[in-house]
C-alpha cells in the first residue's frame, strides 16, 4: 500500500517536471499581450533612444553587446528571447522576474520599454534577420553618415559619443565590432 502511494507521488512529480520542461517561458504571457505590436517598430529615433535606455538600465546586467558574461550576467542572445514576440518582451520587462534577480521595469514609461525593444530588435536579438552590417574595411576607409547610423544603433557607446564627429563615432564603433569579431 505504501509502495503504491510513493509510486503515485513519484509519477505526479515526474509528470510535473516533464510538463515544466516542455513549456515555453512565454506560455504564461496572456494572448492579448503576446499579440501586441511595437508602435516604434522601424523608427530610427526609437532605436537611438532605446540604445541609450539600454545603456542606462540593461547594460549593467546584460553587457553592452547583450551577450552577458556567461556567469552572473545573462545573455539575451538565446533562443528563448529570439522566439519571443515584441508583446512578450514588453510584458516581461513590465513584470520582471523577481525570483531570479530581474527587476520589474514597470516604473519606466511604456513608450521607453518599447524603445528598448526596438533597439534590441535592431541589435539582432530577434527571430528576424538582423540589420545589415556594413563592411568594416570599406567603412574604415570612407566612413559615411548612413553607415554610422547603423553602427550607432548597434553600439550604445556610439550614442554616448554622438556629439562627437560622426567619423570618430564610426571608428569607435568599428573598433569595438572588429575586436568582437576577432574574439
Amino acid at each position: 500500500m505504501v509502495n503504491r502511494f510513493f509510486l503515485a507521488v513519484f509519477f505526479v512529480f515526474s509528470l510535473s517536471f516533464i510538463c515544466a520542461a516542455v513549456t515555453s517561458h512565454w506560455d504564461s504571457v496572456p494572448s492579448r499581450e503576446h499579440a501586441r505590436q511595437n508602435p516604434f517598430q522601424g523608427s530610427p529615433e526609437a532605436v537611438s533612444a532605446g540604445a541609450l535606455l539600454y545603456r542606462d538600465h540593461c547594460q549593467q546586467c546584460h553587457e553592452a553587446d547583450a551577450q552577458g558574461d556567461g556567469r552572473k550576467k545573462p545573455s539575451l542572445h538565446t533562443p528563448s528571447v529570439r522566439s519571443a514576440s515584441d508583446g512578450d518582451l514588453e510584458w516581461f520587462l513590465r513584470q520582471g522576474d523577481l525570483r531570479h534577480g530581474m527587476p520589474s521595469w514597470s516604473s519606466l514609461p511604456q513608450a521607453q520599454r518599447w524603445q528598448i525593444i526596438a533597439y534590441l530588435r535592431q541589435a539582432g536579438i530577434s527571430g528576424r534577420p538582423a540589420a545589415p552590417i556594413p563592411d568594416f574595411v570599406a567603412l574604415r576607409a570612407n566612413p559615411r553618415r548612413a553607415d554610422c547610423a547603423v553602427s550607432f544603433a548597434l553600439r550604445p557607446i556610439c550614442a554616448y559619443h554622438r556629439s562627437m564627429q560622426m567619423t570618430s563615432c564610426c571608428r569607435r564603433c568599428l573598433f569595438h565590432r572588429a575586436r568582437r569579431s576577432s574574439a
Binding site: A51, T78, D97, L98, H100, G101, S106
Partner: protein, 298 residues
C-alpha cells in the same frame, strides 16, 4: 539658518555642475517622493546613497535644518534594505545626531498587478529631537519641533514601524498609498498615519540623444501625508497634515535631485516645509563589497 541654506545650495550647485560636466549615464527614473514609498525597489546589487533634508521654522521655535542620510541596498529584486542616519541643526541651539533607522521592504508577490503591495518593517532608535519628518503619525505636530535640543535629545525612543505600501503604475502615472502604524516599544499606544502620492514624467518617450534637460528627465507630482491619531484616540483632532508638490530631476552620473515645498493644512502643522533630496547610485555595489554572486535570469 541662512548660512545653512546657503551652504546647502552651494553644495547642490557644485554637484549639479560636476554631473552636467561629466555627462555620464543616468540611473532609473525613481520617484521624487520624500514620505511616500512605491513598489519600486532598488535593483539587486545596487547601493543608493541619498540625503533627504528638511528646512522649516515652527511658529514658536527656531529655524532648523534636518538631514537624513539613506543607504539603500537592493538585497534581492524583491527585497530592499535601508539604513538611515538622522541629524539636525537648529539655529541658536546646536547641531546633533538624532539616531538611526533600519528598514526593510519586501514584495510578497513576484508579478506586477494593478495594485502592488509591499510590506515594510522598520526599527528606529532615535531621540525626540529628530526633525527629519520622514513620516507623520499619531498626534505629531508643530509643538514637538519647538522643544530645545538640550531637552529633547535626552528622550530616546525605540520604535517599531509597519507599513502597508500599495502602489500602481498606470499609463505612466505612479499612484502610491501608504498606511503607517508605529509603536513605541515602551508603554505607548500604536500610532497611525498615511501617505499618498501621484507622479508622472513630463515626457514618456525618450529622445535619442544624450541630454540633461530633456523633458523625460523631469518628473512632477503631488504628495499628501499626515497623522490619523493613535489606538487610544483614533481621530483627526490635533493631527498634522501636509500637501506637497514634488519635483524630480534625473541627472547624469547616476544622480537624482528632488525638491518639495510642503504646506501644512491644519492648525498643528507647520506652515511650510522645504525639502531637498540628492541621490547617487552605485551600480554593482555587491561586487565591490562581496564576492560576485551567481545568478541567472531564465
Amino acid at each position: 539658518m541662512n548660512e545653512i541654506v546657503s551652504k546647502s545650495c552651494q553644495l547642490a550647485a557644485l554637484v549639479l555642475l560636476l554631473a552636467a560636466a561629466f555627462g555620464l549615464p543616468a540611473a532609473a527614473q525613481d520617484k521624487p517622493y520624500f514620505v511616500t514609498y512605491t513598489h519600486d525597489l532598488e535593483e539587486p546589487g545596487n547601493l543608493e546613497v541619498e540625503t533627504k533634508s528638511a528646512f522649516a521654522r515652527p511658529e514658536k521655535g527656531h529655524h532648523f535644518a534636518a538631514l537624513a542620510t539613506e543607504l539603500e541596498y537592493g538585497a534581492r529584486a524583491w527585497w530592499t534594505t535601508e539604513l538611515y542616519l538622522d541629524g539636525q541643526a537648529t539655529v541658536g541651539e546646536s547641531a546633533i545626531y538624532t539616531g538611526f533607522r533600519w528598514e526593510n521592504r519586501f514584495r510578497p508577490f513576484m508579478h506586477e498587478y494593478p495594485v502592488n503591495p509591499v510590506l515594510y518593517v522598520e526599527f528606529e532608535d532615535i531621540s525626540a529631537a529628530d526633525k527629519t519628518i520622514l513620516e507623520v503619525v499619531g498626534h505629531d505636530g508643530e509643538p514637538d519641533l519647538v522643544l530645545p535640543n538640550a531637552v529633547s535629545r535626552a528622550d530616546h525612543q525605540h520604535e517599531g514601524e509597519l507599513k502597508l505600501i500599495l502602489s500602481s503604475n498606470v499609463h505612466d502615472w505612479n499612484i502610491s498609498e501608504n498606511f503607517i502604524s508605529e509603536k513605541n516599544l515602551g508603554h505607548a499606544p500604536w500610532e497611525f498615519g498615511y501617505a499618498f502620492a501621484v507622479a508622472r514624467p513630463l515626457r514618456s518617450a525618450a529622445t535619442g540623444r544624450v541630454c540633461t534637460l530633456c523633458a523625460e528627465k523631469f518628473i512632477a507630482g503631488l504628495e499628501a501625508y499626515g497623522g490619523l491619531g493613535d489606538a487610544w484616540a483614533l481621530t483627526f483632532r490635533d493631527t498634522s497634515h501636509y500637501v506637497a508638490p514634488v519635483f524630480g530631476w534625473q541627472l547624469p552620473a547616476h544622480m537624482r535631485l528632488s525638491f518639495s515645498p510642503g504646506f501644512g493644512v491644519t492648525g498643528t502643522s507647520m506652515d511650510q516645509v522645504y525639502r531637498f533630496g540628492l541621490a547617487y547610485e552605485f551600480k554593482d555595489a555587491d561586487d565591490m563589497l562581496f564576492s560576485p554572486r551567481k545568478g541567472k535570469v531564465w
